[in-house]
Symmetry: C2
Subunit: 276 residues, 2 copies
Amino acid sequence: MALHPFDQAVALQPLGEPSLGRWRGVPSKAYWNMVGPYGGISAAIALQGLLQHPALLGEPVACTFNYPVALNEQPFELLLRPVRTNRATQHWTLEMTQPDDAGDVGVVLTGTVLTGKRRPTWGQVDHAMPQVPMPQDVEQEQRVPGVEWVNRYEFRTLEGPVPVAWPGEGEHSRSRVWLRDKPVRSLDFSSLLAMSDFFYPRVWLRRGLRVPAGTVSMTTYFHTDADALRLIGDDYLLGQAQAQAFYKGFFDQTAQLWSRQGHLLATSQQVMYFKD
Amino acid sequence: MALHPFDQAVALQPLGEPSLGRWRGVPSKAYWNMVGPYGGISAAIALQGLLQHPALLGEPVACTFNYPVALNEQPFELLLRPVRTNRATQHWTLEMTQPDDAGDVGVVLTGTVLTGKRRPTWGQVDHAMPQVPMPQDVEQEQRVPGVEWVNRYEFRTLEGPVPVAWPGEGEHSRSRVWLRDKPVRSLDFSSLLAMSDFFYPRVWLRRGLRVPAGTVSMTTYFHTDADALRLIGDDYLLGQAQAQAFYKGFFDQTAQLWSRQGHLLATSQQVMYFKD
């Protein structure tokens, strides 16, 4: 049976002993963005390497990824380092390198990850899921021409779709959408992480203008664990994204991903550059 | 004239040429928390080192700090590395090390910083400042016994003060507060960064229970530049913090800091561990 496109995209080969934390991979054309691979898949690749490290303690809690430059189609190397292991938490740094067109190897992704042992405690969702129609009652969106990675998701937009006209003004920066992998795939940390980068640049919606924009840094927190993710299977998640501020060439966007049952599985924020 | 306590706290001595990005400092007792220094001041120290690096391009846009372990009172070393410099952006990694009680040197802070050249563009605040009474109309809070760093801020709480009783239940997780340095000090990137960590653990407010809790990772985005900060001077900022989810030993809290004029200067999120 052929691997799911997501599993193909995050597949890594160890360079030496897995405990060295060195991996080799090849960017997947199935998740290609306008220039280089979708940022969410690059983050997922890095997390996938971490989850296979023999020294891993606990499960992912917080991760930050920085995107210095778009990856090209060449193989890349991923280096993961556990810099501090405590009793219940572990801190990681990571770096992805790749040769550029001239053959010079440079850093194409940096990041830090916090993992931790989960234990039963009091819990609470304070950012409640908005009341919205169920997925089956919302029309499924068609593919976005020219952006291959979008075809890897099935999504049904409730609010703030990608504009079809560009009037040069907008009313707000919020999108709400049901989404899941296409073809369907059981949710795990790596695919949840990739989904936290699903949302197109808020500047397009807020401004009603399709200006050049791209993610330069993203931070995602997990409020779930492997057992809870298994129970969700391949069901839809409700995603929401919204900007807070646009200022002199950069803006931020926050994101939330809830299960259909209203569990807030992941919260995220990212900063994007944009041009006028 | 004596240096302001904040400037004392973030003072660094170069270890070799500044271009090496190696600095030495000593934690300040003036910003001591319950165990070790206030996380906001450790972040500010790291940023201060970066701002003095001769290779710096542009101004800080996004930064993430991870707190593997509380610092002790010993001198620390800070290492800053510009891993990629583009035309308009620059990506940094940083690490702070310190000997523990047994003399073994370990990593006590990791982080990444994105700096960028700001340029005039269209701009917008999408997360509007709430309408609240002005600082002069709100009572100034007194010191919190036993937590020294809180005395370095003058603050006036509008909503969600630190509970004085612990009934074991709460209604929400939101705090709003006017704050500035005490004694007053002109705002800059480092002090703004420190203020983004001002807000006490949301679990105390939401749960009405003072359980052990501490920051393990924080990400702050700047939506301002040096020129705009200079205009604010030593005026109050309006700060807001709120949790999104509490789950099995960890929770997040988002924060916003506005100028009195309603400019959203910084947005932040952090993840804290908590015990039951």
